[in-house]
């Protein structure tokens, strides 16, 4: 006996096997990300009040790059549209059109991941520094024009540096939730375009804590990195599957077009889900 309904839908359910399978799988994915979003809520509700520059202990705002995040959202939405068009092209029997749309989708996926990498790197070079007098700042280190990653106080003392040059962030309106008062900043140096002060020398002896924006820096960063990384893995996995069918799907398409179309439909469903997760992640992480 053959396994039935691998391609044709079962009459009483109206679905072929893989479609049932993917919906069930997506249900479990909803529970996975649902648990992570719930954790986000619980951690945030339990976090002490504290905004910029108190980013290591409070729940920071406005540290993520909103324009870039918005752009990435658009990239994923476009890819969601093109994946449908690719599937439709296959339904119409136009393989090369399918391939074109799929290449756009894959391009979007690649673009998304590259931009995300850039964003991560931006965080790894961005520091929170706490001083002996109880104040704190965030900003980029400037070591002979370079902006190093993953340094800690120990790195500086090991290098026997007596002071570090820091481009200190200015509190812009995003760094405070609506209704929170922005503190006055009084420094000699004037503001310049990117929301950063000109460099300031901070004595090593004055520093009690120095850490990049890495997961260990605070629960906000922990959940931000964990969730976006997991999402990134999903983007990567989905792109691998879709890419496989784009580049190696021709044979299957020629021997059994319906099966191939089904697979693209199933892969597309997964892709939409991955987009949907981002559509929740973006406002929750970047805007709220």
């Amino acid at each position: 006996m053959e396994i039935p309904y691998t391609v044709k839908p079962r009459p009483d359910t109206g679905l072929y096997n893989a479609k049932v399978g993917i919906w069930l799988f997506l249900a479990s994915e909803v529970m996975l990300f649902g648990a992570l979003f719930s954790s986000y809520i619980l951690l945030r509700v339990g976090a002490p009040d504290g905004f910029w520059p108190d980013v290591a202990t409070g729940w920071p705002h406005g540290l993520l790059n909103i324009p870039i995040g918005t752009f990435n959202t658009a990239v994923l939405i476009i890819s969601s549209v093109t994946v449908v068009m690719a599937w439709a092209a296959l339904k119409q029997g136009d393989f090369s059109k399918f391939r074109r749309f799929m290449l756009v989708t894959l391009g979007c996926a690649l673009g998304f991941l590259c931009i995300k990498t850039y964003e991560y790197n931006e965080k790894f070079t961005h520091y929170v520094i706490r001083m002996k007098d109880g104040t704190a700042v965030t900003g980029h280190l400037d070591i002979n024009g370079h902006s190093p990653r993953f340094w800690t106080l120990a790195t500086i003392t090991d290098k026997k540096m007596t002071s570090v040059k820091v481009h200190v962030d200015v509190p812009n309106q995003f760094r405070y939730p609506v209704g929170m008062k922005r503190p006055e900043v009084s420094h000699e140096a004037g503001e310049h375009g990117g929301g950063e002060h000109a460099a300031r020398e901070i004595k090593t002896a004055d520093i009690t804590f120095l850490q990049a924006f890495v997961p260990a820096t605070g629960t906000f960063f922990a959940i931000y990195f964990t969730m976006t990384f997991l999402h990134g893995l999903h983007v990567f996995g989905g792109a691998m599957v879709l890419g496989y069918f784009t580049f190696f799907g021709r044979k299957m398409y020629e021997s059994d077009p319906e099966r191939m179309t089904n697979r693209i439909e199933v892969g597309g469903l997964f892709w939409h889900f991955v987009d949907l997760v981002w559509i929740f992640l973006f406002p929750v992480m970047y805007l709220l």
Binding site: M1, E2, I3, P4, Y5, T6, V7, R10, T13, L15, Y16, N17, A18, V20, G21, I22, L24, F25, A27, S28, E29, M31, L32, F33, G34, A35, L36, S39, L42, L43, G46, A47, P48, A56, T57, V214, P215, A216, T217, G218, T219, F221, A222, I223, T226, L230, V241, K251, M252, S255, D256, R259, R263, V266, G267, F270
Partner: protein, 604 residues
């Protein structure tokens, strides 16, 4: 998802070539098999080995409880050599080793023994047969599930040998303990535990997708929902429990892994201080969050442990009473009810965390509600016995024993569900007694019943009845001698997870009560005896392969369900002709029928 084909599509004509019968080689027949029956057997054998291993860990622990700080007989020196002085100095079980064995006993029993046996083995072997399907919906995914499970097990076993030893924070792995234990080792037992768990969870998730799809899509013609054998319903609900409850634990596992490896503070509160001073972390996390996520899985998990066994027992009871199950429909609705309620009772494990009386009251209420469907099923099975002319063969004996054992386990759970009484009983041996009655004499008896019952279908030979009955009588006696005294110990205040069984507490003058410590010896000796009574089973299992009595027909138990309408053993593809179903699953002793059973596939 994209696994339905197992062959290159280049042959040009879809899947018409799937069954050219060339004899598969060793690797593709036994290791990389995609046949649900072979995968079921792989699951079964691996799980039985883990069951035995988990039991051996417990024997070592029990020896320590009965004879604190005496060297472990037989394996003591070996453990001292293999695991080092911190663990087993001079062959004596050290606290760390007790904790590691305890955590691994729980983990192995739950995730590597019972679930794979109940769901992976029986579910795989029997479900497609009972619904009249040629295989699972996604055979290659099925193979992947088994392999992930296998590697998850390997990682768990390997964790005994990493620096610091295996995970020691209980099978529940509560933070902050789980994150702080062995923090100075980069790769420690807890990290391995988490990696192993992620593999096991992924395996279960793929399995669940596969099972549910199979049951929805591959039912034979005429196999309507209300004609499904109860076993299939039990597997169906189990599949949903796994599918929806495991992902939150996967999320939690990932977060704890990040806590351990990248030193984040998901589950670590601010201001954490240990004997080594303040812990250098950002803090701000929530230990309660771990508990919520853990129990969101782990309560449904106990139904994953019990429902398949209930399914097995139901089949065997209907078959051996030669009567339809009493109240089949109410049993089906009850099992669905359990499936829903199982998701909203989890925090009854957390009454003592200070989560608030309102929340406690909510979970106390739902907990009492979920006992209703369980009672419905148990009652229906008891009533099914009424007036039957019962055949007392080995499978039936185990199935019958399941009923009171599960009953004791269930009823002793009620005081744990009320938060007032749980405050006293929590974390005592009473709890250990309670849930072991459910999973050891309960589930394990149900599964033994299943092994004896389906063995003739899988091999074409019966297992020996005499050895089976010895196995049954001895196990039944020992199980009760092991677990009943634990209720007494717990009620008298003996805590669980104490590596000397409370000797320092009681012996140190804190309410000295040698009476309950004496019981430790009874329990330990019974546990050893229980081990000996498994020897007839092990012998029987292998000996009967070659020397067991041959079955007289494809349907040796005169059963009604489709699994008995296949050739023996079922070939690849299962059925010689596509089965069609004409009636319900339990048409036994129908008045006026030709025989005392009418198979589901009999027309008319």
């Amino acid at each position: 998802m994209h696994t339905a084909t197992t062959h290159a599509p280049s042959h040009g004509h879809g899947h018409a070539d799937a069954h050219e019968h060339h004899e598969p080689g060793f690797w593709s027949k036994y290791v990389f098999s995609t046949d649900h029956k072979m995968i079921g057997i792989q699951y079964g054998m691996t799980a039985l080995i883990f069951l035995f291993f988990g039991f051996l860990l417990m024997l070592a622990m029990r020896q320590q409880l009965a004879y604190p700080l005496k060297p472990i007989p037989i394996v003591g020196n070996f453990l001292a050599k293999a695991l080092g002085d911190d663990m087993a100095k001079g062959g004596v079980m050290q606290a760390d080793l007790y904790n590691a064995f305890g955590a691994m006993h729980g983990t192995i029993m739950v995730f590597l023994a019972i679930v794979p046996l109940a769901f992976g083995a029986f579910g795989n072997y029997v479900t497609p047969l009972q619904i009249g399907a040629p295989d699972m919906a996604f055979p290659r995914l099925n193979m992947a599930s088994y392999h992930l499970y296998f590697w998850g097990g390997v990682v768990m076993l390997a964790s005994f040998f990493v620096p610091g030893g295996a995970a020691k924070s209980g099978w529940t792995s509560y933070s902050p303990l789980a994150t702080l234990a062995d923090r100075d080792h980069l790769v420690n037992g807890q990290t391995m535990w988490l990696i192993g768990m992620v593999l096991l969870i992924t395996s279960s998730l793929l399995g669940a997708v596969n099972f549910i799809t199979t049951i929805i899509q591959l039912r034979a013609k005429g196999m309507t929902w209300m004609r499904l054998p109860f076993f299939v319903w039990a597997q169906f609900v189990t599949g949903f429990l796994l599918l929806l409850a495991f992902p939150p634990l996967e999320a939690a596992g990932i977060m704890q892994l990040v806590d351990n490896v990248l030193k984040t503070s998901f589950f670590l509160p601010s201001g954490l201080v240990t004997s080594g001073g303040p812990v250098p972390i950002s803090g701000g996390g929530s230990p309660l969050l771990w508990q919520h996520l853990f129990w969101f899985l782990a309560h449904p998990e106990v139904y994953v442990l019990i429902l398949p066994a209930m399914g097995v027992v139901s089949e065997i009871i209907a078959n051996n009473t030669r009567k339809p199950l009493w109240g089949y429909k109410s049993m089906v609705y009850a099992v669905l009810g359990i499936g829903f309620l199982a998701f909203i009772v989890w925090a009854h494990h957390m009454y003592l965390t200070g989560m608030g009386t309102k929340i406690s009251t909510f979970f106390q209420t739902t907990t009492m509600m979920i006992s209703i469907p369980s009672v419905i099923i148990l009652t229906a099975l008891f009533i099914s016995l009424w007036g039957g002319s019962i055949r007392f063969n080995t499978p039936m004996l185990f199935a019958l024993a399941f009923l009171p054992m599960f009953g004791i386990g269930g009823l002793t759970g009620l005081p744990l569900g009320f938060n007032a009484s749980d405050i006293y009983l929590h974390d005592s041996y009473y709890v250990i007694g309670h849930f072991h009655y459910v999973v050891a004499p309960g589930t394990i008896f149900g599964l033994f019943a299943g092994v004896y019952f389906w063995y003739p279908k899988a091999t074409g030979r019966y297992m020996s009845e005499l050895l089976g009955k010895i196995h049954f009588a001895g196990s039944f006696l020992c199980m009760n001698l092991i677990f009943a005294p634990m209720f007494v110990q717990g009620l008298r205040g003996m805590s669980r997870r104490m590596y000397d069984g409370g000797a320092t507490y009681f012996g140190g003058g804190l309410g000295a009560d040698p009476g309950i410590l004496e019981l430790n010896k009874v329990i330990t000796h019974s546990a050893v005896l229980l081990g000996f009574f498994q020897l007839p089973f092990i012998f029987n299992f292998f000996w009967s392969l070659y020397a067991g009595k041959k079955v007289e027909s494809d349907n040796p138990w005169s059963a009604t369900t489709l699994d008995w309408q296949t050739p023996t053993p079922p070939p690849h593809g299962n059925f010689a002709v596509e089965p069609v179903v004409y009636r319900g699953p339990y048409e036994y002793s129908v008045p006026g029928a030709a025989k005392d059973f009418t198979p589901q596939s009999q027309p008319g």
